[in-house]
């Protein structure tokens, strides 16, 4: 009996010690990434849009127009301190930060040549460009688009971000019946997919998604991820993705039964807009003091959330930054740090001004001449700290 009590005592003590040890470890781990997800509630009524307006410094870059660098339908852009990178339906272009054309990647099937590139991303630390071709090829180039290597991927992907020396995160383009997980980890050394995260089974809009091109957002070495069919914003934590924000659009959120009514994305997109609900999430950019979310509904096309609040104020990009209300300013093409970038497709020469060949675009106190049949203008807004 005495032995049994002694053994029991030792067992309980061991458990207590183990528990204390765990608490100590978790308290000492300063880099712990485990945090509570933040529920964000959208406010769409009685908002004073004037008070939401953000101060931003505007800059324009007219991209050079020559036979070698005529840009067509632009898929994605990246703007760095030195270069402007542009992927259009025909090729990948590099311009200087002043807009002078440097290089374009040759079309073809040779090493590093492109036939059907669908998206790209940058790694500023490694000075590398990653281009996804046809969903299953990952080309790696240096920052001047000189070819390094190609990896054949098992699957079909629309977006990529480099995690560390060996690993990339890839966002799938396939519907759930072909690929259950949104994120795959690709290991460069083993040339294999080594892990998969975020099961689409848990998503209400699992069968309804659209192609979005800036799903990963890197801020202070942390990787955030948004998907068109999820209301969550995730953060990469090494062995998985944790939910950082969970958005509730409240009165603009379709009822759960609504999603099951559609098996056709085009129809859903049309109906969800007509019924005045928010459908897909287009982007999420962490801009320092605030987070900018992009979506589409009748009255709003974006929402902002200040870091210390769990409220998202519904607005429109044009109103928020005092921009002309034209299609080019409906959504930013990309963002980094506290800057957001738009591609201005000479809207001012369309509609009422079809007969004109030139006009002036004025934003804030900056002005630029817009010439017909010139390449687009990159408009960058640098958000000022209040």
């Amino acid at each position: 009996m005495a032995i049994a009590i002694r053994l029991n005592f030792i067992f309980i003590m061991k458990k207590i010690l183990f528990g204390l040890l765990l608490i100590l470890i978790s308290c000492n781990n300063k880099n712990s990434t485990i945090q509570e997800k933040q529920h964000i509630k959208a406010i769409s009524r009685n908002i004073d849009q004037e008070s939401l307006k953000l101060d931003a410094e505007v800059s324009f870059v007219q991209l050079e127009t020559s036979k070698e660098c005529l840009l067509g339908y632009i898929i994605n852009i990246e703007v760095t301190d030195d270069y402007i990178y542009i992927l259009d339906r025909s090729s990948f272009f590099v311009f200087t930060n002043k807009g002078n054309f440097i290089k374009k990647i040759k079309r073809g099937k040779g090493p590093g040549e492109l036939t059907r590139a669908i998206n790209f991303s940058l790694d500023l630390a490694r000075n590398e460009i990653y281009i996804i071709e046809m969903g299953n090829l990952l080309h790696i180039y240096n920052n001047l688009a000189d070819y390094k290597e190609t990896h054949k991927l098992d699957g079909s992907f629309i977006d990529v971000v480099r995690v560390d020396d060996d690993n990339f995160l890839l966002y799938t383009v396939l519907p759930p019946k072909y690929e259950e997980f949104l994120i795959s980890v690709y290991n460069k050394k083993s040339k294999n997919i080594t892990n998969k995260f975020i099961s689409s089974k848990d998503l209400l809009m699992k069968d309804l998604s659209i192609l979005t091109y800036n799903n990963f957002f890197v801020k202070n070495s942390e990787i955030f991820f948004s998907a068109s069919n999820s209301r969550n914003i995730y953060k990469y934590i090494g062995n998985g993705m944790e939910t950082t924000y969970s958005i509730d659009f409240r009165n603009l959120e379709p009822p759960i039964s609504y999603f099951s009514m559609f098996d056709d994305v085009r129809n859903f997109k049309k109906m969800v807009y007509n019924d005045d609900y928010v459908g897909f999430l287009n982007y999420c950019y962490d801009l320092g003091k605030l987070v900018l979310f992009g979506f589409k509904c009748k009255d709003f096309n974006c929402g902002i959330k200040y870091k210390d609040e769990n409220i998202m104020y519904m607005s429109s990009v044009s109103e928020l930054f005092d921009l002309p209300q034209t299609p080019s300013f409906e959504r930013p093409y990309n963002a980094n740090d506290n800057q957001i970038h738009f591609v201005y497709f000479n809207d001012i020469l369309l509609n009422d001004n079809l007969q004109k060949k030139e006009a002036f675009l004025e934003i804030g106190n900056k002005i630029i001449q817009v010439n017909e049949n010139n390449n687009p203008i990159i408009v960058t807004l640098k958000i000022k700290e209040k």
Partner: protein, 207 residues
């Protein structure tokens, strides 16, 4: 001794029979696989043709009778701005709509159909209207695809239903810019486009 031979023959026959049965079974499986493959291929073909026809019966017909605005402006290859109604010049014309947002191989397939058609559509009654951000891109496109027809770039949006699909289409418009016929070509089924051409030539030859 005879019994032993009988047993030997029996075993040998059984083995041979088994081998034959295995071979037959394999042959049957192979035939079945090939049949299923061919069947699904033919079924897919039929489904695709049905989709094209359904799409054309519903979506194409819904454009008939639509009238374009008189003030639609297009740019010619020299970047001159012209009114669409002035280009039509009082005749029925076949317009082929392409765009740099369409599937590029689908656009090219329609151009190839136009170039190869046996339907003798008058050359001057075919117009290509592209929507390219830059008219210089249309010029490159014309050179790359060896297009010999009159080509124009449209920069404004038009509210005809056919535009919603972001897919190439053919329309015939009369002198009042009214749509008389519409067809969405399918790149893998160019013979359907040829049927369309043979069905509309009377609208172009006699007007």
């Amino acid at each position: 001794m005879k019994l032993k031979w009988n047993i030997f023959y029996f075993i040998l026959s059984a083995i041979l029979l088994s081998i034959i049965l295995i071979l037959l079974y394999n042959f049957k499986t192979k035939l079945e696989t090939e049949f299923n493959k061919k069947y699904s291929q033919i079924k897919n073909e039929c489904d695709l043709v049905q989709d094209v026809l359904m799409n054309n019966l519903t979506n194409s017909n819904s454009n008939i009778g639509f009238r374009f605005n008189d003030d639609i402006i297009v740019e010619d290859t020299a970047c001159n701005k012209l009114k669409l109604i002035n280009i039509i010049n009082g005749e029925n014309v076949l317009i082929y709509r392409i765009s740099d947002t369409h599937c590029s191989t689908c656009d090219v397939a329609g151009i190839k159909s136009l170039l190869r058609t046996n339907s003798k559509i008058p050359y001057n009654k075919i117009i290509i209207i592209g929507s390219f951000y830059n008219t210089k891109l249309l010029n490159s496109y014309i050179t790359a695809n060896n297009i010999k027809y009159r080509s124009y770039n449209l920069k404004q949006s038009i509210n005809i239903k056919a535009e919603k699909f972001n897919f190439p289409y053919f329309i015939i418009v009369n002198k009042n810019l009214e749509v008389l016929s519409c067809f969405f070509p399918e790149k893998t089924k160019p013979y359907l486009t040829e049927y369309f051409f043979s069905g509309i030539k009377h609208l172009l030859n006699n007007y």
